[in-house]
Amino acid sequence: MSDIANKILFLPERASTFAERVDVLHYFVVGTTMVMSAGVGLAALFFFFRFRRRVPNQTTEYVVPDLKTEFLFVSVPLVFFLVWFAIGFRDFTWVTTPPKDAMDVYVMGKQWMWKFAYPEGPNGVNVLHVPANRPVRLLITSRDVLHSFYVPAFRIKMDALPGRYTQVWFEATKPGTYQVLCTEYCGLSHSKMLAEVVVLAPEDFEEWLKEQQRGRLQGRQDALADTSLVPPVARMAEQGEKLTATQGCLKCHTVDGAPHVGPTFLGMYDRQEKLADGQTIRVDEAYITQSMMDPGAHLVVGYQNVMPTYQGKLQGPETAAIVEYIKTLRTANVREVSSEGPAYDPIQ
C-alpha cells in the first residue's frame, strides 16, 4: 500500500526509521491537501454552473455568513493545521535528539566534497560507511561556505555551518548504498557535491572495520585527504590532547578536576552547567565548539570572560579533535569501555 503511494508521489526508497515516521505524515498532509483542493474546486465549479448569470443586469441576494459559518471557516483549518504541527514537531524533536548510544561520525562540507571522520580513526572522502540498525549521530560542520547534508532515502537534512557544529541522527534500516546531496547553494560545482552512504549489515560492518585495521585501504582515494591537518594521528582524541597543549588550552584549563582560570575539562562533557545569566546548558559538541569560537556567548557561572577566541586559529577537524579529547575525560575509566565507533589504525 505505502509502496504504491511512494511510487505515485515519487518518494525515494525508505531506508531509515525516521523515513518511516515522516512518510506517514506525508501521506496524511498530501492527502488532505488533495481532498481540500478538490473540495474547494468542486464547490466552486458547482457554484459557477448553478449560479451562472441569466440576464445581463441580474441582481443578487445580499448574503452574509452567520457567525457559525465564519467560526467553521476558522476552526476547521486551524484544527487540521495544529494537528499536523503537533505530529510534525514530535517527529522533528525525535530526529534532532540523538539517542545516547549513537555512534558518532564527524561530517565536514568543503567546496565541493564531503569528508567523514570517525572519532577512533582516520577519515574518508565522499563515502560514509555505517552499520544498519544502529543509531548514527552526524556532527556536521563546514570548512568554507554553507552546505547542507541531505540523504533522500533517510529523509534527513542538516545545514553545515562554518565554525559551528550541527547535529542530526539516523538509524538505517537496510543495507545498501544511498546518495548524499548538498542542498545549500555553495558555488560553481554545488551540483557535483555528491557523496554516498554505504550501509552494511552489522557483520559486514565488523568485517569492514577489520579490513581498515589491516590497512588495506592504503592508497584508496577515500583515505585521509585533508593534508592541511597537523600530521594525522590515529585517534582524534590523541590529536586533540596534543592540540590542547600546543594551542595553550592547558594554561587555563586543567584535566584533573582542579579549578583554574577556566573550568576543568575533567567530566565536563555531558555535564549540566549553570550559566552566568541563570540558564543551564548541557555541555555537548555544539557548546564546546561555540565556547572555542565565541567564549563569551554562554559563560559558566563563576568564571571571567577572559578567553580569547579561537575563530580562524582552529580548523573544523581540530575543534572536533579537541572535543573528542574532552569526551575521553568524561569518567575515569572511559578508556576501558569498548568504543562505540570503529577502531583502527591510521593509514600512513
Partner: protein, 560 residues
C-alpha cells in the same frame, strides 16, 4: 480577431447601472490624451500615468525574467551540460530570481494597479503626495538599472537569497546589485507610505473604513508591511556590501561573524515580502470575484481583517525558512505554530471567495477564468506551504524542488493570476477599449494549464529528492525535468498570445464604454478612461458599500 467580434453587446451600451449623479460629459480630456509630449509623460504627477509607467516597466522586467526562466528550464532538459556552462547557469537563475522578485512581483500589483486604482476607489483626485509618487518611480528605475548593470558587469551567482558567507566570498560582483536592491527599497517604502496616508486622509464622504473596497484593504495591509519590513533588507544589503568591500566581519565566521545572523535578517524582510507580493493579489481577486459574480463579498469583514492578520503574523514566521539551519528545536516549534496561523487567515479568504459565488450571477469572462486558476493555485500553494511549515516534513523537502514548486504556486501562481485578472478586468477602465474575449479565454486556459504542467512535476521532483539550484543532476530526475520544461514552453506560448491581443486591443480595440462589466466597484463610477483629476464636477459621494448588487429600489430602472 476584429475589434467588433467580442461576444457581448452590453459593453457598448452607454448605459450603466451607476445610480450616482456623476457628470458623464466628455469635454474633459481623459488622462491619456491630456498632454501628449514625452515630457508631459515623464514629468507627470498624475497617479494614473505613473501607474502606467510602472506597468510598462514591470512588464518589461517580466519579459526579461521570463526569458531567463526559459533559459534555466532548457538547460535542465538533460542531466549534464545542455546549452550553457555551470557559471552561466548559476548567474541565469540568480538573474531570474532577482528580476522576478524585486523588479516584477513586489511592484507589479501595488505600484501599477494600486497606483492607478487606489485614488479612484477612494473618490480622490490623486494620491496624497503626487511628487513623491513620481520620485518613487524614478528611484525604482535607478535601482533597477544599477542592479542590471551589476548583473551584466561581473554577474552575480549567489541566488536571489545572497546567503553569506558565500556572497561575501564569491569572486562575482555583489556590491552594485545589492546596492540596487537597497535603492529599490526606497521606492517601495515611498509608495507604501503614500498609500497609507492616502487611505487615511483622502477617502471621499461616505467611504468609511468598512466601505473600503477590499482591494484598498489589501493594498493598505501591504503598504504597512512595506514600510515596516523594507528598512531591514535595506540595512542588510548595505551590511553585506560593507562585508564584501571592507571586510566588516559581521557574517563571516573566519572574522568572528555569524552566517546565520544574515539569514535571520534576510528572512525577516523576505518572508513578509511574500505577502507584499500575494496580498495585493488577494485584493484584486476579491474585486474580480464580486464583479463577475455580481455579489457582495461574503464575509467582507473577515476578508478585510484577515489581510491585516496575514500582515501581522507574517512578521513572526520567518524562522520557518531555517528549520535545518542549526536553530534550536524550540525555535522551530515557535515558528512552526506561527506559520500555521498564516494558513488559517488564508483559508478564511478562500472560503469567503467561494461563498461569494454562492447565490451570485456568474459571468464567466477572462478575469473570472483567472480567478478559477487563482483559487486552485492559492489552495494548493497554500496547503503545500502548510506542508513545508510542518517541521518534520520540511526536513526532507527543504531546499528541494518541492519548495521551488510551492513558492512558485503561491507567489507566482497567485500573483500572476491576479496580475492578469487585474489587467483584463481594468483594461477597459485604463484604456477605454475592449480586448477579444475569445482569445482571452483561450490564453487563460493555456497559461493555467502550462503553469500546472511546469510546477506539478517540480513537486514530484522535490519528493524524489532533487535539490534546487542544480546545474547537473542524477539521470533519474530527467523525465520530470523534461515535463516541467514542456510546461514552461506552453506557459510562454500563452503569454505571447496575451501580449499580441492586448497590444492589438490597445490600438484597435472597440470602445468599451464607461462600465462594460456593469461592475459596482467604486472605480467604475468615473469615466473610462478617467479624466485627469478622476472625477468631473463636485466631489463624489459613496452611500453604498462596494459591490452592492441587491435589487434596486422602485425609482431605479430594472432591465430584467
Amino acid at each position: 480577431m476584429t475589434p467588433s467580434s467580442s461576444p457581448t453587446a452590453e459593453g457598448v451600451l452607454p448605459g450603466h447601472d451607476d445610480a450616482g449623479g456623476h457628470d458623464g460629459h466628455h469635454h474633459h480630456p481623459n488622462y491619456l490624451v491630456d498632454g501628449t509630449t514625452v515630457k508631459s509623460w515623464l514629468l507627470t504627477i498624475d497617479h494614473k500615468r505613473i501607474g502606467l509607467m510602472f506597468l510598462a516597466s514591470v512588464l518589461f522586467f517580466f519579459l526579461i525574467g521570463g526569458v531567463f526562466a526559459l533559459a534555466v528550464r532548457v538547460e535542465l532538459l538533460t542531466p549534464g551540460p545542455t546549452v550553457m556552462d555551470a557559471m552561466t547557469y548559476n548567474r541565469a537563475f540568480t538573474l531570474h530570481g532577482l528580476i522576478m522578485i524585486f523588479l516584477f512581483m513586489i511592484p507589479a500589483i501595488p505600484a501599477a494597479f494600486g497606483n492607478f486604482m487606489l485614488p479612484l476607489m477612494l473618490g480622490a483626485k490623486d494620491v496624497a503626495f503626487p511628487r513623491l509618487n513620481l520620485a518613487s518611480f524614478y528611484i525604482y528605475v535607478t535601482g533597477a538599472l544599477l542592479m542590471i548593470w551589476g548583473m551584466l558587469n561581473g554577474g552575480l551567482d549567489t541566488g536571489w537569497t545572497f546567503y553569506t558567507p558565500y556572497s561575501t566570498h564569491t569572486t562575482t560582483t555583489v556590491a552594485p546589485v545589492l546596492f540596487g536592491a537597497f535603492v529599490i527599497g526606497f521606492s517601495s517604502i515611498a509608495t507604501g507610505l503614500n498609500f497609507i496616508v492616502t487611505v487615511h486622509t483622502m477617502r471621499a464622504p461616505g467611504i468609511t473604513w468598512f466601505k473600503l473596497p477590499l482591494f484598498v484593504w489589501a493594498i493598505y495591509a501591504t503598504s504597512c508591511i512595506q514600510v515596516l519590513a523594507t528598512p531591514v533588507i535595506g540595512l542588510l544589503t548595505l551590511l553585506v556590501v560593507g562585508e564584501n568591500l571592507f571586510s566588516f566581519g559581521l557574517f563571516d565566521p573566519a572574522r568572528g561573524g555569524d552566517p546565520v545572523l544574515f539569514q535571520h535578517l534576510f528572512w525577516f524582510y523576505s518572508h513578509p515580502a511574500v505577502y507584499i507580493m500575494v496580498l495585493p493579489a488577494f485584493g484584486v481577486m476579491s474585486e474580480v470575484v464580486a464583479a463577475f459574480s455580481r455579489k457582495n463579498i461574503f464575509g467582507y469583514r473577515a476578508v478585510a481583517y484577515s489581510s491585516l492578520g496575514i500582515a501581522f503574523v507574517g512578521f513572526f514566521a520567518w524562522g520557518h525558512h531555517m528549520f535545518v539551519s542549526g536553530q534550536s528545536t524550540f525555535d522551530a516549534g515557535i515558528f512552526g505554530v506561527l506559520t500555521m496561523l498564516v494558513g488559517v487567515f488564508t483559508a478564511i479568504k478562500v472560503f469567503n471567495w467561494v461563498g461569494t459565488v454562492y447565490k451570485g450571477a456568474v459571468d464567466f469572462r477572462t478575469p473570472f477564468a483567472y480567478f478559477c486558476g487563482f483559487l486552485f493555485f492559492t489552495v494548493f500553494g497554500g496547503m503545500t506551504g502548510i506542508a513545508v511549515g510542518t517541521v518534520s516534513l520540511d526536513m526532507p523537502w527543504h531546499d528541494t524542488y518541492f519548495v521551488v514548486a510551492h513558492f512558485h504556486f503561491i507567489m507566482v501562481g497567485a500573483t500572476l493570476m491576479a496580475f492578469l485578472a487585474a489587467f483584463h478586468y481594468w483594461f477597459p477602465k485604463m484604456f477605454g477599449r475592449m480586448y477579444h474575449e475569445g482569445w482571452g479565454l483561450v490564453s487563460a486556459a493555456l497559461i493555467i494549464l502550462g503553469f500546472n504542467a511546469t510546477f506539478i512535476p517540480q513537486f514530484l521532483l522535490g519528493n524524489y529528492g532533487m535539490p534546487r539550484r542544480y546545474y547537473e543532476y542524477p539521470a533519474r530526475f530527467q523525465a520530470l525535468n523534461v515535463a516541467s520544461t514542456a510546461g514552461a514552453t506552453l506557459l510562454a506560448f500563452g503569454f505571447v498570445i496575451v501580449a499580441i491581443y492586448l497590444t492589438y486591443a490597445l490600438f484597435y480595440g472597440r470602445a468599451s464604454g464607461k462600465n462594460p462589466w456593469r461592475s459596482k466597484g467604486y472605480e467604475w463610477l468615473s469615466e473610462s478612461p478617467p479624466p485627469t483629476h478622476n472625477f468631473v464636477g463636485p466631489q463624489p459621494t459613496f452611500p453604498e458599500e462596494p459591490h452592492y448588487y441587491v435589487a434596486p429600489k422602485k425609482d431605479e430602472v430594472k432591465d430584467v
